[in-house]
Symmetry: C2
Subunit: 517 residues, 2 copies
């Protein structure tokens, strides 16, 4: 058996059966072996950042890693930004990077580079397979690392000769280390804080953002008077029947205001909040020195079980307060961030997956969708722009029976716009809502915030203006085979989203929003 | 003076006055300072790989580095592939990466990453400015490193607080180390080989690929009977009045055949040739063990002066043989790689810059353009796909009075397609000839070459088929504000290229080529 076949079979035997890929010459042996192991589904991407972002989105919905196949150091470089997002999302991923043949490295051919050095910056585990007899075992180990708690990125470098040589050995699936259990004493300590009368915030994130964890947190809040705040999670649930919690604000001064006066902060799947960026004269640490911080459960532990145990202790018999089903009226007239959010809410299909990279234009989406039918929310977790459209690709591959709504801004869309082609090729059920305000609007905000005395001149503002020329996303989508429409009123948007939901396959709806002043 | 202003002023004082950028929040201080130093031209790119590739192209035509401004580790990651190409092209570049404020790093905010670790994989010099009083000096040092011989990538990490704080100090320009002179004894040794009667190849590359070096090499060949072969250069000259040399073949077995029987190999600005990739049973080293290799001049030395001194010694009074002006007949009928090459030749404007990332479709371009009007050729040097379109951006910014012809294949175009928007925004005189054969054709070739017994199945071939759906590059260009036309006959292509040459600003001509079978 060829090394490449042993690799793919070992991945499949470890339950990794989807590979997002952008291969080159050094990966042709892997590609050639795809016909020998038909259980592996391969999804072609035209840019590596699409492949790594898709693997992130896939793992969030599939609950297991996908593989990614990249071409040498530069291909890995192109995939790095969405590996950063996946690392921060704690999404498991197995990255396979083709390398030159082991004996070819010393010749410093044009594509030679430090693959391991690049990989190490974003991976929890990096290994170069040295021989075809090891490649199956290395693959099983990579999957086990990726699937440990929390999810991790494992990068396996596959030299071309290891891939093309006979003598590959398939390795069996290896069980990843399970999540750790939270000590009873820790739960009792948290209970004592919550019932001790201090002003307490319970900050939840990560795995706590599913139904089980959120219901437990809501019970704790109702019984003890504690405030629940939420941070990010690679997958959270939202909609009627679930509690609603305030999010820790993106803007540092708002986050500080949320936490003001807090005496105790209890963390469950979240870190003590810090500002996203630093600003002159603003503290990075949001909680402040006078707040006692304690950890109920970190991301190596079973967070949901810990929250339920805590709720049973302090809120026995208490029911969580949840949101009623409620939709805004169907919007009419001018398209604004608010009317757009209402249009998304009133047209949201049942059981949707909502991918959020809406940046400034998405300000009203969370509240508009709070009473909508239950759905999953997949945000970009690492702050690296360009994660949303690939995440939608991966989510749709993982959950083909669920409609995916991909909320995307114009500036961020251009980093991984190639995602649309893969959406068309795989006929994925993704409706992209492309919010075109012709601006890097978030940077316009930041430019005035970062320096109190800044009065940006025309040359500075020009660097934040992406409306010269105006991008036409409807044309871009059509050029990649995705049916598209540009809308300029709320009624048109409702109609376009209704039509998209009624049809299979990808669609793009370009929402023309007012440009910020 | 703010740190950011001292940085930009120091760059300008070091003669770096163009910055290709994709900024984020941590770079807003740099952006805000652009109005204070109007000598710095800033060019906005919608993706970081466009910025780094543009800086590569700029330096080739300007003979000096541009600056690049990127956002934290993920932005640097997105720029890495074209930094690889620039590193291999020995193009000077000053990369500035915004970082979090020095005191913010320890909070592990979402965008925290190992910026220096990422940068080191592609940079000759990496430094993080620790204080605003140092930033000007650090910038001057970065430029001096970049401008040494050969050109290098210098990466300077700019923490946000260093950028926003008062106390910046402007540093004066620092002279880079000059190119080293080749010893007279080395030239005499080479002369002895050339006149010694052995079968000798003179392999030239890098700076030897301009008129001076090529004429000297042609004189040497004519006088001594040596064969001149050429390898890559980040900028070579071509056309009527210049000698034509065979290139070292991309395919290893063809390269081995070119070198067969060679007893002596003399290197001038080139390395002893190796295969681009490794293949089972094919040697990586093209020259073979029985060939003596000697170095006339390496890339730290003055290669052109060494070639001229050698020519004066072995070919005094001998004139170089050069190509006559000659164009193919204007092509008609079906569009094929050959008729397309002829169309490009007969319409080539005077004094053009030809950027080549045509991959398999470009097979006939070199010979078709050998007798065309003199032009510069800028190839992708590192083998990382996606260098061509950004290189065209940079070349056009550096040489606004010269027409740029960007020869681009469909597969490679999709890595940095965002380049078109910057071409439109800056109204650059670039005509993109987009060769659409609906395939990763080079990979189809490689798939059958890498494994002698491979008989690719449908699942393997599907990974090399980018024609499902067919990309419409005319629509993609239009969506980014670039006038475009799709042509299906040679006559239409000639007409479209003639029209594009007659008008200012960017154009894209999509050439529909037969899909390989």
């Amino acid at each position: 058996m060829l090394g490449s076949e042993a690799l793919i079979q070992s991945l499949v035997d470890s339950d990794v059966d989807v590979c997002f890929m952008n291969p080159g010459t050094s990966e042709m042996h892997f590609v050639n072996a795809l016909d020998a192991v038909p259980q592996m589904r391969s999804v072609l991407c035209l840019f590596e950042g699409v492949a790594t972002g898709a693997a992130d989105g896939y793992s969030r919905m599939a609950g297991k890693p996908a593989a990614v196949l990249l071409h040498l150091g530069p291909g890995l470089g192109n995939g790095l930004a969405n590996m950063h997002n996946a690392k921060r999302a704690k999404s498991p991923m197995v990255v396979i990077v083709g390398g030159h043949a082991t004996y070819h490295n010393r010749y410093d051919a044009p594509l030679q580079s430090d693959i391991e050095g690049i990989a190490r910056t974003m991976s929890a585990w990096v290994h170069t397979s040295g021989h075809q007899r090891d490649i199956g075992n290395d693959a099983a180990q990579a999957v086990a690392v990726a699937r440990s708690t929390p999810g991790k990125i494992a990068t396996l470098v596959l030299p071309a000769d290891v891939s093309w040589s006979e003598g590959g050995v398939v390795a069996p699936r290896r069980e990843p280390a399970p999540a750790l259990t939270v000590d009873k004493a820790v739960i009792e300590a948290a209970a004592a804080i919550l019932t001790g009368g201090s002003k307490t915030v319970l900050l939840i994130g990560g795995a706590a953002m599913r139904e089980r964890g959120m219901l437990a947190a809501a019970r704790i809040a109702k019984a003890t008077g504690a405030t629940v705040l939420a941070t990010g999670s690679n997958r959270s649930e939202r909609g009627a029947g679930l509690p609603v919690f305030s999010r820790v604000a993106y803007l540092g001064e708002q986050a500080v205001a949320q936490m003001a006066g807090t005496q105790n902060l209890i963390l469950a799947g979240a870190k003590s909040p810090v500002t996203f960026f630093a600003y002159p004269g603003v503290a990075s640490d949001v909680a402040g020195d006078s707040c006692e911080v304690s950890v109920l459960a970190d991301d190596e532990q079973d967070i949901e079980a810990a929250l339920e145990a805590l709720a049973d202790q302090v809120a026995a018999g208490v029911e969580a307060t949840v949101t009623e089903a409620a939709l805004p009226p169907s919007p009419t007239g001018e398209l604004t961030p608010r009317s757009m959010a209402d249009a998304i809410a009133v047209t949201l299909p049942a059981n949707a997956i909502v991918v959020e990279e809406a940046v400034t234009s998405g300000a009203f989406i969370g509240s508009a969708l709070a009473g909508a039918p239950r759905h999953d929310v997949l945000p970009v977790m690492g702050g690296a722009i360009g994660g949303g459209m690939p995440t939608a690709v991966g989510a749709a591959v993982a959950a083909p029976d669920r409609p995916v709504i991909s909320l995307q801004a114009d500036g961020s869309a251009m980093y991984t716009i190639q995602s649309l082609w893969t959406q068309a090729r795989e006929n994925l059920n993704i409706t992209t809502v492309l919010m075109n305000n012709q601006s890097y609007a978030i940077l316009r905000n930041e430019l005035t915030r970062v320096g109190a005395g800044y009065n940006p001149g025309p040359r500075a503002l020009d660097m934040l203006d992406i409306g010269r020329p105006t991008l036409n996303f409807a044309e871009l989508a059509s050029g990649m085979g995705v049916p598209s429409v540009r809308v300029t009123t709320a009624e048109e948007l409702v109609e376009a989203l209704t039509n998209a939901a009624a049809q299979d396959g990808p669609h793009l709806v370009e929402v023309m929003l007012p440009s910020p002043e």
